[in-house]
């Protein structure tokens, strides 16, 4: 029970990071982006590449940090992956979404995101193979927190949770303390007025993609660290991330964080009563429940 809760919190932190970017994009550009979860895959694989590269150039970097399985090389790669994924998101927007947005139909964007999801996911398969990969072959033993009930925690999990909370704290600081953060909030609240106040919308859209992509990349690496890396990370996480977004209310960044934890914990707690095979269906049930009770999510406003 407590083990499930702990696992749920961990998964929740990963979903939250994915959902933050998705909720920002869905609110600002008004479309359900089915390809957002593929950004997690891009991030995970980008980190894999640079992890290998750094380890090869500087073998000293290939040593683990303390009790973690994480190496210094991978640690550095996380940041590079975040940057690259952010740029990929901008590139995808420039090549596809921006041009469709300018042509008109709102729902064409959703179709286009179907298409982009297929393209990105399968390009990754093509480039890196269908087999699952691991950042490290080392086995790190879990720390036994208690024997009855049995509670196990891996050092990596603690690291991931701390990092995720760190990134969210940074985002919170930016949003609440910097004029740059005010700009993002202003555009989210009222794009027309934001323009009148001198904010260039196209710049803010680019920045939103960068932030969303970077957080998704970190989430992808963390997911890979705790599970494994394969080309279908996006396929497996798209629904839970949508669920987190809808639970929090589209457009609410803090809602997305909370939504991520709620979905993560609920999916893991469901294991107490359901066989594990069913857990991918749990996010769907959460979506239905939220839409029935609070169609605008916990923090969302009514959209027109």
């Amino acid at each position: 029970m407590i083990q499930h809760l702990l696992d749920g919190i961990l998964v929740g932190s990963i979903l939250s990071m994915g959902a933050i970017g998705l909720t920002m994009v869905m609110h600002m550009l008004r479309f359900a982006n089915f390809s957002h979860a593929e950004l997690l895959s891009i991030g995970a694989y980008a980190a894999l590449v640079f992890d290998g590269l750094f380890s090869a150039i500087l073998p000293a970097l290939a040593t683990s940090i303390g009790p973690l399985s994480l190496t210094w090389a991978l640690f550095l790669s996380i940041f590079i992956a975040m940057g690259l994924t952010g740029l990929s998101a901008v590139l995808i927007d420039m090549l596809v979404f921006k041009r469709i947005r300018e042509n008109g139909h709102e729902l064409s964007m959703v179709f286009a995101s179907f298409g982009m999801a297929l393209i990105v996911r399968n390009l990754i398969s093509l480039g890196f193979g269908l087999k699952t990969r691991l950042y490290t072959e080392d086995i790190v033993f879990a720390v036994r927190l208690s024997d009855d009930p049995l509670i196990l925690v891996k050092p990596d999990q603690v690291f991931v949770l701390i990092c995720a909370l760190f990134f969210m704290a940074v985002l919170h600081f930016v949003l609440s303390r910097t004029t740059f953060g005010y700009t993002l909030r202003a555009v989210a609240e009222n794009p027309t007025l934001a323009q009148v106040t001198g904010i260039r919308l196209s710049t803010v859209i680019v920045i939103t993609w960068i932030i969303g992509g970077a957080l998704a990349a970190a989430a992808g690496v963390f997911y890979g660290l705790n599970n494994q890396i394969n080309p279908v990370i996006g396929r497996d996480l798209v629904l839970p991330i949508f669920a987190a977004t809808i639970v929090g209310g589209i457009g609410s960044i803090y809602g997305a964080v909370l939504g991520g934890f709620i979905v993560g914990i609920a999916a893991n707690m469901a294991l107490v009563i359901l066989p594990s095979g069913y857990s991918p269906a749990v996010p769907f049930l959460i979506i239905l429940a939220v839409l029935l009770v609070r169609p605008n999510g916990l923090f969302g406003e009514e959209r027109t």
């Binding site: 004029t179 005010y182 909030r185 009222n190 027309t192 007025l193 323009q195 106040t197 001198g198 904010i199």
Partner: protein
């Protein structure tokens, strides 16, 4: 010869392509004065200043700011030519505090924020008191004051306002209009849309009347104040006792 700081020449504009709301409107705004646009519902008053502000696309005609043609410029570039625009509603960011609202504007205008903010707070003491409160919690009059302060923050030459007194109590409306008068006396050029015709004519210098997207009459505000034609435009027919 008046010093004209802003003028439109025969502009045609509307939200949807092929469905113009404004037909060949020409207005000009003299320096350091208040011009007011009045007219019945649906006359295109708000559309006119939105078109100048770059929010509604202009399909023909030109807009000049001084000698510079600003037709088709994006709204976020207007600050650069010294034009500020205060929308009628939703003219502040509700989820930001008052201080944050001002910082935001100042940052994007590239103005040194700390000093300028202090000046604004001295100019608007009620805002200073509530600087750390969410703007959404302000009363109607204070919101309007914040919106004006945000427009003033970047020291514009030209300020356009869409019904600044709408929805305010008579007292608050009077205060807002007095503020506008003070700004004009201080050298700003102001273009206003107003609902309250009698009040608007009272304090404005120049008046344009629009109806059905077309320019009807214009003139010195004081000359129009007792003109029966205004009543006719609003409620039609020959008014009893005015004929």
């Amino acid at each position: 010869m008046l010093d004209i700081v802003l003028k439109t020449e025969n502009i045609v504009a509307g939200y949807v392509k092929g469905l113009p709301i404004l037909h060949n409107i020409s207005v000009s705004l003299p320096r350091a004065s208040i011009s007011v646009i009045i007219g019945p519902n649906g006359a295109g008053k708000s559309t006119l200043i939105k078109a100048i502000a770059g929010i509604v696309p202009v399909s023909s005609g030109n807009i000049f700011c001084g000698n510079k043609c600003i037709t088709g410029m994006r709204p976020d570039q207007m600050g650069g030519v010294g034009i500020a625009y205060v929308p009628q509603t939703d003219n502040i960011f509700r989820t930001l505090t008052i201080g944050q609202n001002l910082d935001l504007v100042l940052r994007h205008a590239g103005v040194e924020a700390v000093e300028r903010r202090q000046v604004l707070f001295e100019q608007f003491p009620p805002l200073s008191d509530k600087r750390n409160e969410k703007a959404g919690a302000l009363s109607g009059g204070q919101r309007q004051m914040l919106a004006v302060a945000m427009a003033l923050a970047v020291k514009p030459e030209i300020i356009m306002m869409d019904e600044p007194s709408a929805g305010l109590s008579p007292k608050a409306a009077g205060e807002v209009l007095q503020l506008v008068r003070d700004l004009a006396d201080g050298g700003a050029s102001i273009l206003l849309v107003e609902q309250n015709v009698n009040q608007a004519l009272q304090f404005a210098d120049h008046c344009y009347i629009l109806a059905e997207g077309q320019h009807q009459i214009d003139g010195k505000a004081n000359d129009l104040i007792n003109d029966p034609v205004i009543g006719q435009i609003y409620i039609g027919g020959k008014r009893m006792g005015a004929a």
